[in-house]
């Protein structure tokens, strides 16, 4: 280790806004979002890719922002928990459903649950309970026992089917 950090310029779209930043090549996407863009809604909880708390939506797909370097996000369209609601503040159906069904307690895993489920339900609003449990099998929650998260996802999926 010579201590000299290599930096590279990246351009990407985050929550609808184009951002351009100089970033250390060893910085992961989660740290970039939190530190460089001050989007602290994305939470880092294990930083080895198991717990899913740091999940963001990259080009429509849920990814772990701790397992991806910021420089790998060059040219991508990223959605974080801050970008799930409409610009006018109208909540995403999965956010509404988490509030309605008590899908969160401490709120720390919640951004990763919301982004994972938003992507999955947008892709397939007909998803069933087994599908939802499978979709969040890579997201750890210590508070809820998952049941109310599953209920919230089923409720949000139903809302999205009606809206479609």
């Amino acid at each position: 280790m010579d201590g000299i950090e290599e930096k590279r310029r990246i351009r990407l779209v985050v929550n609808g806004r184009t951002v351009e930043r100089e970033v250390s090549t060893r910085k992961h996407l989660g740290d970039f979002l939190r530190e460089d863009l001050r989007l602290t809604g994305t939470h880092l909880a294990c930083e080895h890719g198991v717990c899913g708390s740091c999940t963001v939506i990259a080009d429509g797909v849920p990814v772990r922002s701790c397992l991806m370097l910021a420089v790998q996000a060059e040219g991508m369209v990223i959605r974080t928990v801050e970008g799930l609601a409409e610009p006018d503040g109208t909540l995403h159906p999965i956010q509404e459903a988490f509030h309605e069904k008590h899908g969160l307690q401490c709120g720390f895993c919640t951004p990763g649950m919301l982004t994972t489920l938003a992507a999955v339900i947008e892709e397939n609003p007909s998803i069933d309970e087994a599908g939802i449990r499978d979709a969040i099998s890579g997201n750890i929650c210590r508070c809820t026992g998952y049941e109310t998260i599953v209920d919230a996802a089923l409720s949000a999926a139903a809302t999205m089917r009606q809206g479609a």
């Binding site: 880092l44 294990c46 509030h99 750890i140 049941e147």
Partner: protein
């Protein structure tokens, strides 16, 4: 007053910011000029420190300082304060903020590295060269008290922290005469906290010196203030501690940690703000864990299967230090004999040092241990007498007509343990009524097809509402909004919502009009902490008292201003009104009047402000109870356990918010399922932890967890104004016992007796292989 919010499943006030990414957890706090800290930690379970060479690290890019105990000098020369001293503690060993001459577990703190980024701090921490002289480590709980066993502390005579003895009745006589006595050995295993937010600390020293502010992911901000002020020789008034949004606690965040001491010491030394965020590997090696115990016990029963007595000896692993003194073994001791009316108990618990992560309460504290032991004992009696395990429990339970029931045991403060209310038999019956009566038929049919179903029971009693107090200030502001301040911290339970429900009902306002400010030592003067399922009981009662006082004052002042009788006043929709008329005055207007105006004297006999501060002093514990039923299917080829149904009958007195209580129960049960089937903190024979990530240490996942079916019984507590009992740990306490009981029942054709937790698929296959046709009673 019509009750509107109390008892209703009100949606949480906490949610809107948390579902939109606008929470403020400690890692979200950024202070200009703040440096990032990484710790140099011990890689050895037990070693002498020969030398530390930090020169290379100090020269690394971005590094501002590397601080060892020596660098901090006199300020860090004492061991950390023991919060709960007790005369029977033989060796009151607490950690140093930074190790001085020796280290006692892998993860023990050695040096603080402060750099401009966390990455730079970690790079430099790896360059701090520590020369260790490794020592034998105490890791075998069974051997730890034997002569010649490796010592956890090189300067100790032995590994014994304390020996606790407790009990009542003539155990020798009862066991000598009992128709049946059964005995066995149990091994209970530790697990971790695993809040999804790890710990973290931000500290900002006052530029004038001698004071600082700290934001910590803690359950006990007032204890952090107390012990840091004492250790550092500062006025408590000069230390502000805030628990911001906290991402789960589960017990281990109720400790004042070495990292909190070290961050305060380093920030005052460097005169710079510092941040340390625990990473997940650090969480495995430095955040407290709990539950390792080994028991040899005997249970006595009469000819009808009623349990008569329990006696036994437990070895309790407390890890390398005693940050909680003897609270764990004492709590485990006081939890005997659980829901059972026994004629005698005779228990000895040895609390023992090992070179593993220190132990402090994890959800349930030692209550899940005692519950597991008693429930294994109940199942052992049933098995050996060929009885229905539910019937053994029914015959042994404390009866509702015996309430209040003095168990014979002593609480930690020496007072007699006395259950206040409940009907344990009825609660178990409710569980079965919900579950259905066809299990044994289904089990038999499944076995005919080569499938193995099992049904397990876990019954428990939990002391809640621990002394001494919590407090609250309720203040009506001129705009009519209510400002509620309390010391009670939350880690996801929804306390703000619960407090607002209590307050809104009494003051006739909407809960949206109540803002709750909690867990900031600068906002409310005194607090204790969020542990032991105490906040709804103790904090909630203090809110009730303060809001009641404000209500009384609003009525008194309102009656004067409206020239009407106090008895005719009602509070509704933010107004004090003469009942049945449109003569009314807004609460905010009363507040404005009581907040005073230049030159206008106050109303006679009325103190300024429409506000009150109350402390609720908990003088008697209140006891929740319940019974869980768990149905499993075990694949005898792979050892896989699938939980098919899980039923909870739960009695925590009056429910303030059933939705939140159910959330506490579900999360708690799943934690207990983890302790039964998944969570395994493995150390090798030298004290090296082998499970330090989520690939190696398994937590319950959505794909494996059942729905938790909950039925409530409400036996109001006579011991607090709300009639409530705590609900934070009642899910966890019986769950491990119920799951293990179910797996054993499924494997009864193989004669399997399960005497430990957790059990892995491999354990199950091995137990089946070692099995034999079930035998009758011995």
């Amino acid at each position: 007053m019509g009750v509107r919010y109390f008892g209703a499943s009100v949606r949480r006030l906490e949610d809107p910011k948390l579902i939109t990414g606008r929470g403020t957890y400690v890692d979200d706090i950024a202070i200009p000029g703040m440096l990032h800290v990484a710790f140099v930690r011990s890689p050895h379970a037990h070693a002498r420190i020969v030398s530390i060479d930090a020169e290379a690290a100090r020269g690394m890019p971005g590094v501002h300082a590397v601080l060892t105990a020596e660098d901090l000098g006199e300020a860090a020369a004492k061991p950390m304060i023991l919060p709960v001293p007790a005369p029977i503690i033989k060796q009151a060993k607490t950690q140093y903020p930074l190790a001085r001459s020796s280290v006692h577990f892998v993860g023990d703190t050695i040096a603080v590295v402060a750099a401009e980024t966390r990455a730079q701090a970690e790079d430099a921490a790896a360059m701090v060269m520590v020369d260790f002289d490794p020592l034998p480590a105490s890791v075998d709980l069974d051997r730890a008290l034997q002569p010649g066993a490796p010592l956890a502390h090189e300067d100790s005579p032995d590994n014994l922290i304390a020996t606790l003895k407790g009990g009542f009745g003539d155990a020798a006589g009862i066991f000598a005469k009992a128709p049946h006595v059964f005995r066995e050995r149990l091994e209970l295993h530790r697990g971790g906290c695993h809040s999804m937010e790890c710990r973290g600390v931000v500290v900002r020293p006052d530029p004038m010196g001698g004071r600082f502010e700290m934001w910590s992911s803690t359950q006990v901000p007032y204890m952090v203030r107390r012990y840091l002020a004492e250790y550092l020789g500062l006025e408590e008034n000069g230390v502000r501690v805030v628990a911001p949004d906290v991402g789960g606690g589960f017990g281990p965040k109720a400790v004042v940690y070495a990292e909190e001491y070290a961050l305060a010491l380093a920030a005052l030394h460097l005169k710079q703000p510092l941040k340390w965020i625990e990473d997940r590997r650090e969480h495995f090696v430095a955040t407290t864990q709990q539950r390792d115990q080994i028991w040899e016990y005997e249970v006595a029963a009469d000819a009808d299967g009623r349990m008569l007595g329990f006696r036994g000896t437990g070895l309790h692993d407390n890890g390398a230090y005693i940050p909680y003194g003897i609270v764990l073994p004492a709590t485990g001791m006081a939890s005997f004999p659980g829901p059972y009316a026994l004629d005698c108990v005779d228990v000895t618990i040895h609390s023992i040092f090992t070179n593993m992560v220190p132990n402090t309460p994890v959800r349930g504290a030692a209550r899940p241990n005692t519950c597991f032991i008693l429930e294994r004992a109940a199942d052992l009696v049933a098995r050996n007498l060929n009885m229905d395990p539910a019937e053994v429990r029914r015959r042994s339970f404390v009866k509702t007509e015996q309430m209040p029931y003095t168990t014979g045991m002593k609480a930690r403060d020496g007072s007699a343990v006395a259950y206040d209310s409940g009907d344990y038999g009825r609660c178990l019956d409710m569980a079965f009524e919900h579950y259905g009566a066809d299990f044994r038929a289904r089990q038999a049919a499944a076995r005919a097809e080569g499938r193995y179903l099992g049904l397990g029971i876990g019954s428990y009693v939990e002391d809640t509402g621990l002394a001494p107090f919590e407090g609250a200030t309720v203040r009506v502001q001129p705009d009519g909004k209510i400002h509620l301040q309390t010391g009670a911290a939350a880690q996801g339970q929804g306390h703000k919502t619960v407090f607002a429900q209590i307050c809104a009902d009494l003051l006739g306002v909407r809960i949206e009009d109540v803002t709750v400010e909690a867990a900031d030592t600068a906002a409310f003067p005194l607090g204790i902490g969020t542990v032991a399922s105490r906040v709804a009981v103790v904090g909630g009662s203090s809110v009730h008292m303060a809001a009641s006082e404000v209500r009384t004052k609003a009525i008194k002042v309102g009656a004067q201003l409206l020239e009407a009788a106090e008895a005719d006043m009602e509070l509704e929709a933010g107004f004090v009104r003469v009942a049945g008329t449109d003569r009314k005055i807004a609460l905010g207007d009363i507040a404005l009047k009581l907040n005073g105006l230049f030159g206008t004297p106050m109303m006679k006999g009325i103190e300024p402000g429409l506000a009150a501060t109350s402390y609720y002093e908990a003088r008697e514990l209140t006891f929740a109870n319940g019974s869980n039923l768990c149905e499993v299917e075990v694949d005898i080829e792979t050892g896989a356990v699938k939980i098919l149904r899980y039923v909870v009958a739960h009695d925590c007195g009056r429910l303030i918010n059933p939705m939140l209580v159910d959330g506490q129960i579900r999360g708690g049960v799943v934690h207990g399922i983890g302790n039964a089937l998944f969570e395994r903190m493995i150390y090798d024979e030298s004290g090296q932890p082998l499970t330090t990530n989520y690939g190696e240490y398994l937590l319950p996942l959505a794909t494996e967890m059942p729905r938790i079916e909950i039925v409530h019984m409400e036996s109001p507590s006579p011991r607090n104004p709300l009639g409530v009992k705590g609900a934070g740990e009642g899910g966890t306490i019986p769950a491990t016992a119920a799951v293990i009981s179910a797996v054993e029942d499924a494997l009864s054709p193989f004669g399997v007796r399960i005497t430990k937790h957790p059990i892995s698929p491999q354990d199950i296959v091995e137990m089946i292989d070692a099995g034999r046709p079930a035998e009758a009673a011995e």
